[in-house]
Symmetry: C2
Subunit: 122 residues, 2 copies
């Protein structure tokens, strides 16, 4: 659990083999494998409902939220759960079950690395 | 052309009503409208071929590339053109026809704003 170093390759505990891996997109052309890994994360944020849910979790008090905290995005609770699971599978959120509810939390290192891909190369 | 100010709302010339608009995702929950606008850009990067093409254009000599420069992503030239058009429609690339070819260029302000969404709120 403590062997995460400050390296381009981040492997957050709990993420399912998805991690930002790569230099800024403007540094050199991505390989097929790099693009495959990274596109999964952008795709997860490429849905309006998922993006709202992500911002809701990211900005929620204490940095975490469960389905029980989410009521105003215009979709059913099962749909909310489905989208939160997708965000977790993409490595952007981690989850922890406590009692009845699963709590979701943003994985800051993964989000920062994803943001880093969009930075200028200089 | 010169009325672009340093504001959260960026309106790049040529982008089709798509522009980053919003604070970092961790600052407050996105509204439905904000999520709709922003998800389009993430979605455009959420495809492995498009992501490779984007990094290819972004890292190409002179900061621009045309279909004629792209030969090694494993898809046909019409498919390359299709994906470049999608990236342009999302506001991430701008394009200019010169002679036979359309040249694509990264829209740096849009990409930087998209990266800013993934930055921490502090």
């Amino acid at each position: 659990m403590s062997n995460v170093e400050v390296l381009p390759l981040l492997e957050p505990a709990g993420a399912e083999a998805v991690a930002p891996c790569c230099p800024p997109l403007s540094e050199r052309p991505f390989t097929a494998e790099e693009a495959e890994r990274t596109a999964r994360m952008f795709k997860a944020l490429g849905d309006p409902v998922r993006l709202r849910l992500f911002s809701l979790v990211a900005s929620h008090e204490g940095g975490e939220a469960c389905v029980c905290d989410i009521s105003d995005v215009g979709v059913s609770q099962p749909t909310v759960s489905h989208h939160l699971k997708k965000l977790r599978e993409a490595g952007l959120l981690t989850s922890e079950r406590r009692g009845t509810w699963v709590y979701y939390r943003v994985e800051p290192s993964v989000v920062a690395a994803l943001g880093g891909l969009l930075s200028a190369k200089n």
